[in-house]
Symmetry: C2
Subunit: 192 residues, 2 copies
DNA sequence: GTACAATCGGAATCAGCATTCCGCTTGAAG
DNA sequence: CTTCAAGCGGAATGCTGATTCCGATTGTAC
């Protein structure tokens, strides 16, 4: 039986960690997280063996949400917009937080298995959305995943700094998206 | 009189610091820099009061080079390409190193006066190149400095991670630049 | 209500690093 | 060739912050 207070504390720790890590990034102190959760450091460590584990738990949850979103967008069957919407969503998720970019790091040395798995799924989800968008001519056919990942990473990192306002991020993405669109208006879909 | 060995050591420290900080970023250890320079830590500290000072010296030198480059490009009077060339140059300079991005941070809290000054000049140089490019219709008129800075920052940060090969960076920049160009072919310059 | 194991809290421990200190060395001036 | 201050190396110090430990609490089962 899981003690009720233990469950409650775990939740409090997660919540506190999400906000503290989001604000201060990986340099946030464990003491601060514990204080914010109204709990002793020892308790934090009972639930998460290490700072890195705590960090991973939070990032993992956020990535899962994004993956859900990707699946939803794909199911919505709007290939022309799904890719762009998802791209913007990832950037928006990163904005002001200081927590996500590492999850997108394509070449990590000491990544845990779970993180590696998420990374792969993220890449796949993005690749599918990209393929769909290219099929209907919403994205120029001569771009490929490597540059998409690099662009997404850069956009996320910049957003993550918290130095740019929402409108500036929007305008930046607009420029980027224009660069991704074909020069000529999209050819009518094959079935039209 | 400046002792010859002191001058020599200073140079060795700078050189070692440039490569070590470039490889490992701000987390590099002073011991490592000293070792790489073939010198004791004490010597490093004799020449640079603090790690931050050493870091600043290096960044400052690199930014100066970039500013020279900007001036040169402007003097070359090729407004249609200067802006893009400079943008790419900044990104190339950041590529693989882990040292420059902070210099572009637009909102620093505890920046030294000199750094603040360089930041300003960097912004101005970029603004001039942008203005020129827009005047001749090489860059769409509806983009402004804030988004340019955000895009440059993102591109530099991504390049800085060292996760992307040169070709990938080139293709990413190509996409970005396409987004910055006007949709219609540039109008002939007023004097044509 | 009582007993007991799971939890707690948070002080003490440990480790990593920047920075300081000081006795030794060495370039340069006379 | 001496002299001696500037410069040197690197051990010792101090601080910051993660992680561990253990006596005190507190759910839960009976």
């Amino acid at each position: 039986m899981i003690r009720s207070d233990a469950a409650r504390n775990r939740a409090k720790v997660l919540e506190a960690a999400e906000s503290v890590l989001g604000e201060q990034g990986p340099t946030a102190r464990m003491d601060e997280i514990a204080r914010r959760a109204g709990v002793g450091v020892g308790t934090v460590y009972r639930h998460f063996a290490t700072k890195e584990a705590l960090y991973a738990a939070i990032v993992s949850a956020r990535v899962d949400l994004l993956l859900d979103e990707a699946a939803r967008l794909r199911a919505a069957a709007e290939p022309a917009t799904g890719f762009f919407t998802f791209f913007a969503q990832v950037v928006a998720d990163a904005a002001g937080k200081k927590t996500l970019t590492d999850a997108l790091r394509s070449a990590g040395i000491d990544v845990k298995a779970e993180q590696e798995d998420q990374r792969t799924r993220m890449r796949e989800a993005l690749a599918e959305l990209l393929r769909d968008a290219q099929r209907v001519g919403a994205v120029r056919p001569d771009v490929d995943m490597p540059e998409i990942l690099a662009l997404l990473r850069g956009a996320s990192m910049a957003a993550e700094t918290g130095d740019y306002s929402g409108p500036v991020i929007d305008r930046s993405l607009a420029v980027l998206f224009d660069g991704l669109r074909p020069l000529a208006p999209p050819a009518p879909p094959p079935t039209a």
